[in-house]
Symmetry: C2
Subunit: 205 residues, 2 copies
Amino acid sequence: MAATAQTDPAGATPSKGSATRAAILERAVDLASVEGLEGLSIGRLATELEMSKSGLFAHFGSKQELQLAAVEAAAERFRQTVIEPAEAAPAGAARLRAMADAYLDHLESDSYSGGCFWGAASADYDDRPGPVRDAIAAALDLWLATFEQQLEQAGVEQADRVAFELYSVVMGANSRYRLSRDRRVFDHARATVDRLLADGRSATV
Amino acid sequence: MAATAQTDPAGATPSKGSATRAAILERAVDLASVEGLEGLSIGRLATELEMSKSGLFAHFGSKQELQLAAVEAAAERFRQTVIEPAEAAPAGAARLRAMADAYLDHLESDSYSGGCFWGAASADYDDRPGPVRDAIAAALDLWLATFEQQLEQAGVEQADRVAFELYSVVMGANSRYRLSRDRRVFDHARATVDRLLADGRSATV
DNA sequence: CCTACCGATCGGTAGG
DNA sequence: CCTACCGATCGGTAGG
């Protein structure tokens, strides 16, 4: 399932059009992480990509379709950088630690100019009803459910509450690092993840 | 130190102008909690207050001054609803619990149409350098330092890390509630606050 | 994928 | 606190 799956038939060589579309979406995700998904403007995106506004617009048909495609592209990026590499680790605590480490390492490496897309997008859209908000909420609900499932596998009690704590702490690290530029928040977040996973295991003994 | 302190001389009767200004700022804080502090538009704010755009504009001189005044008004609101009532409780764990309860109770009561101003404003401005970002960062740094100070009074080890956890969990409750409308996040957040404060105390025995 | 355009709205100003 | 404006930019369309 590559990023071009929606525009090219399975097995086909990606067309030039879908390569352009993928490049637009990569940039859209990065820009939205900085400006927010609503503040993302078609004109500005076109200027940065050195193409005409209407040329870019033709790929999507409306700003909302562009936003929905950007949410899907960001979800694909999250799967590739956080979820799938961690699936090499055994289910349960080890896999959760791998997910948290991959997420925090990416934040700390400053690979993304605007930090976490989901932190920016969820705050921007949480009070704007409609399909964009629903797509963001569905992605985050899925990852919370993934955390909860792995916590249950690890034998942690109150897995739903601990999943909320894990989510809060890694997102809190993103938020605090954006504002303070103090890397110690990553140490705090990693120590908290360690403690949550260790507490859970000792509780089952 | 009332909200009118900046426009009226100390002890003077608040003028009609400063009453209008205060009403503008109340609405600006509520609107910014929904639309973000950048998405807040002078035209829309004027329409909602049934006054002309330039009439409203005359109170501030620029959009940035309006945003800075809204940040200050939101800080005053936070002090009045969360910080000051908790100062009736003894310093340390009891005061922290009172602050967390006041914050979570206000979120759960849906008093604010857009949830927490600081969650929306910090995500919106964390990547926009300038005085607005600096004012938001300073307010949040102050409250984090307040939490840390009370944790030290309570004899909690690693007070800076636990302050980060407290911050992350109450902000996480705001974020999750905005998206899921599931009130169980407040139970999770309260249970986490209880555990953080209880762990800290037992660690000192 | 382009040029050329539309009505609406943005922040801000002139002058009262 | 108002009316009447300004240039810039917004999302979107026509026509190629």
